[in-house]
């Protein structure tokens, strides 16, 4: 008996409960905010390169600031919103919202997510969060400006930043967190309960592992930042005393340092939340394009689990300079350094996957290999931040900025771009232009490395982050030209994304029709042809093989076999 439900324009495209539609909604949202945040980055770069000059016409300076002149307050607002938007409104919707939604049900052989209506509500909650955040731009005193970390007392009403931008920021983030929690429940339960027959946990693609582990971290830690945000919101609105140092009357007040703890207990797992999907996707893509099984796939999955556990007990490494006892510092340092072990293991597994593989340098592969490079570098620089002694010097310098842009902006973003290039044929049924894709990669990869590596050089030299005018400091004068050349390459990096935008839009409209399995990949989504219908699989697939069955000698006529195809005897 087939169920037929009428679909109107509204239920099909706007309030759809189909995970594939919701995935696209999150993708548009993520791409929009990626462009928004990227543009903000260019404004920041201009200020750092030419602090005494107003913004040029091609950065639309006079549109945003009177006479194109950015004041220190503007600058604070700029890097605050840049960080907030990139983390919560670009990466999260793109990697977790879009690819989590698109990939999970298809790769585990399920008809949809476990809770389709909740899925739909999670998108629209995020939409509401976006409206609240963007509304703060229209406030007379502007947006939040206390850094994306929003520490009190700068973010609290007593002696902090004026205006309600900070309050709207807190509200927007609470809504975003609620959306994330709804998504997390869905992803966790879908993976646990809706895998197709034969799809054991270790037969799941590593992309699903990454997205699933991210959701577990989200479910546990997003409520913690919600707690911190509630306390901050109450301080800002009804005048509670949580983060006011030394309160009124006879009973003491709150503790600003408490905020930092609550924030970073969430904040550290958050960075792993952001990168786990990319790790999983890269692990799979390297296998597809090396035509080889993912080396040590099981171990990679276990390493990701280990990192999930370790990530919850290292938050203090963001707070080494707050005056903690050296013993506590050493404890956090030790645990943080431990994380480098499982990370290195799966990094080596990535190399092992490629070793003596039949490498196909398609665009998704280039970006996946790009992740190898930038994550390797970014991860290594993490060691200097993890070590208390070096961090005392490097904390709050551009070194940290370089480190987290290498690991977050570069690794996660490249992982996201790899995912877009890879799944575009399945999402839209069209092919993207490979030449433009490769051009996009190289014109992004080289400038990106110049930009963020040199930030670490600047940080090592002592330039602080969140600095309005580096020229103020005489000791930076010898090295200050770096700020200018970094900006030059950052502009190239920014404008090279237009190649991607053109390719993406043009392929969607005019692109050549893609075949069902252009990459000859063996996971379940590639067994479906044409636009995938509501409900995905006509009959529930039975899974026989793992997700990386490439170049298996038992398969004679080709170098791959689908997960749902029985192995020839």
């Amino acid at each position: 008996m087939s169920e037929h439900h009428e679909q109107t324009f509204w239920t099909k495209y706007i309030f759809s409960t189909d995970h594939k539609v919701i995935a696209k909604q999150f993708l548009w949202m993520g791409l929009f905010f990626l462009a928004f945040g990227g543009f903000q980055a260019l404004l920041i770069r201009w200020q750092l390169a030419y602090p005494d000059q107003p913004l040029p016409w091609w950065l639309l300076g006079s549109l945003f600031y009177e006479g194109g002149v950015m004041t220190p307050d503007h600058y604070n607002a700029l890097f605050t919103m840049h960080g907030t938007i990139m983390i919560f409104w670009a990466i999260t919707p793109m990697l977790i919202g879009a690819f989590g939604n698109f990939v999970i049900p298809l790769q585990i052989g399920a008809p949809d997510m476990a809770f389709p209506k909740l899925n739909m509500i999670s998108f629209w909650t995020m939409f509401l969060a976006s409206v609240v955040l963007l509304a703060s731009y229209f406030l007379p005193e502007g947006t939040a400006a206390g850094g994306w970390t929003s520490y009190p007392p700068l973010s609290s009403p007593v002696g902090g930043i004026a205006g309600e931008g900070q309050t709207l920021w807190t509200l927007a983030l609470t809504l975003a967190g609620t959306s994330t929690l709804m998504g997390a429940v869905n992803y966790i339960i879908t993976v646990v309960r809706m895998r197709a027959p034969g799809m054991t946990y270790f037969k799941m693609p590593l992309s699903v592992w990454g997205l699933w582990l991210t959701s577990i971290l989200n479910a546990i830690f997003v409520p913690i930042i919600a707690a911190g945000l509630i306390l901050l919101l109450l301080d800002r609105t009804i005048g509670t005393q949580f983060f006011v140092a030394g309160g009124l009357a006879t009973v003491e007040g709150g503790d600003p340092l408490l905020y930092q703890h609550v924030f970073w207990i969430f904040g550290h797992p958050e960075v792993y939340i952001l990168i786990l999907p990319a790790w999983g996707i890269v692990s799979d893509l390297l296998s597809v394009f090396s035509r080889k099984p993912a080396f040590g796939a099981r171990v990679t999955a276990i390493c990701m689990c280990t990192i999930v556990v370790l990530s919850s007990i290292v938050w203090g490494h963001h707070m080494y300079t707050t005056g903690m006892s050296p013993l506590l510092g050493k404890a956090f340092m030790f645990l943080t350094l431990l994380i480098s072990i499982p990370s290195s293991i799966f990094f080596l597994n990535w190399l092992g996957t490629m070793w003596r593989g039949n490498l196909h340098f398609e665009t998704p592969m280039l970006f996946a290999m790009g992740v190898l490079w930038v994550f390797g570098l970014g991860g290594l620089t993490g060691l200097y931040n993890a070590t208390v002694t070096s961090d005392i010097y490097l904390h709050d310098t551009m070194f940290v900025v370089g480190h987290f842009h290498y690991t977050m902006a570069a690794s996660v973003l490249f992982g996201g771009l790899a995912a877009i290039y890879f799944w575009f044929p399945k999402m839209f049924g069209k092919k993207m232009n490979p030449l433009l894709g490769k051009l996009h990669f190289w014109i992004s990869f080289i400038p990106l490395n110049y930009v963020f590596f040199n930030m670490m050089v600047l940080g090592y030299a002592g330039q602080h982050r969140r600095l309005y005018d580096p020229n103020e400091y005489a000791f930076l004068a010898p090295i200050n030209d770096l700020n200018i050349s970094i900006t030059f390459f950052a502009v190239i990096l920014g404008f090279s994304q237009l190649i991607f935008a053109y390719n993406f839009i043009n392929s969607m409209i005019n692109g050549e029709k893609a075949e069902a399995n252009p990459w000859k990949a063996n996971t379940l989504e590639w067994t479906l042809d044409g636009p995938i219908p509501h409900g995905n699989f006509a009959t529930t697939p039975t899974v026989y093989n793992g997700p990386h069955e490439y170049s298996n000698p038992a398969v004679k006529d080709r170098d791959w076999i689908a997960q749902s195809e029985p192995m020839p005897t």
């Binding site: 087939s2 929690l181 997390a184 913690i224 509630i230 509670t240 699989f537």
Partner: protein
């Protein structure tokens, strides 16, 4: 765009929904763990902490509110029992009573707030007040959402005359009992310890 709709529509079983609710409860637990640990740290760091309602009627009211919520868990349990038995009228009666007790709890909490504000303890006056109104307020907001959910569950479960759909009752039941247990923990940590 294909308009083909396949026979397989997602119809998750009861266990799946229960698991989902347990994940949600896990998240709510983490929220309150963070709030209670924050409270603990602020209290440990302070040199003098005056418990709310010490030696006044406020404490008695707090006890009464706790008992009201505990009774509501029992009435919920009765409602669920009749739900399993399939008796619509009893389900509506007992779950409706639970709903009423939930509303009474909220009103009683507001009354407790009023009494404490009149006695001089406000959210702004000192950190003890901030903590008290925050914890009870956040808990109260969750009770409001549970009341809305229960209202939905009553309607949804008794929609069809022939049978009772037990799943909404089970799911909201988990939330209700959880919030009751949570309140007991909050009450003990705020008023007693």
């Amino acid at each position: 765009m294909s308009t083909q709709v396949l026979p397989t529509k997602v119809k998750t079983d009861e266990f799946t929904s229960v698991l989902g609710m347990l994940v949600i409860l896990g998240s709510i637990t983490m929220l309150f763990v963070a709030l209670i640990v924050s409270y603990s740290i602020l209290r440990i760091q302070s040199s003098m902490w005056i418990k709310p309602g010490v030696g006044s009627i406020a404490f008695i009211l707090g006890v009464i509110n706790t008992v009201i919520l505990m009774i509501s868990s029992w009435t919920y349990h009765k409602g669920q029992h009749y739900g399993v038995k399939g008796i619509h009228r009893k389900v509506r009666q007992w779950l409706g009573l639970t709903l009423g007790l939930g509303v009474i709890f909220l009103l009683a909490q507001l009354n407790l707030w009023r009494i404490l504000i009149d006695s001089g303890m406000t959210a702004q006056s000192n950190i003890v007040g901030s903590v008290f109104y925050m914890l009870t307020g956040v808990h109260g907001l969750h009770i409001i959402s549970a009341i809305v959910a229960l209202f939905w569950a009553i309607i949804r479960s008794t929609r069809v005359v022939a049978s009772i759909e037990i799943r909404p009752i089970k799911l909201v039941g988990l939330l209700w009992h959880f919030l009751d247990f949570l309140w007991i923990c909050l009450f003990v940590s705020i008023f007693i310890i």
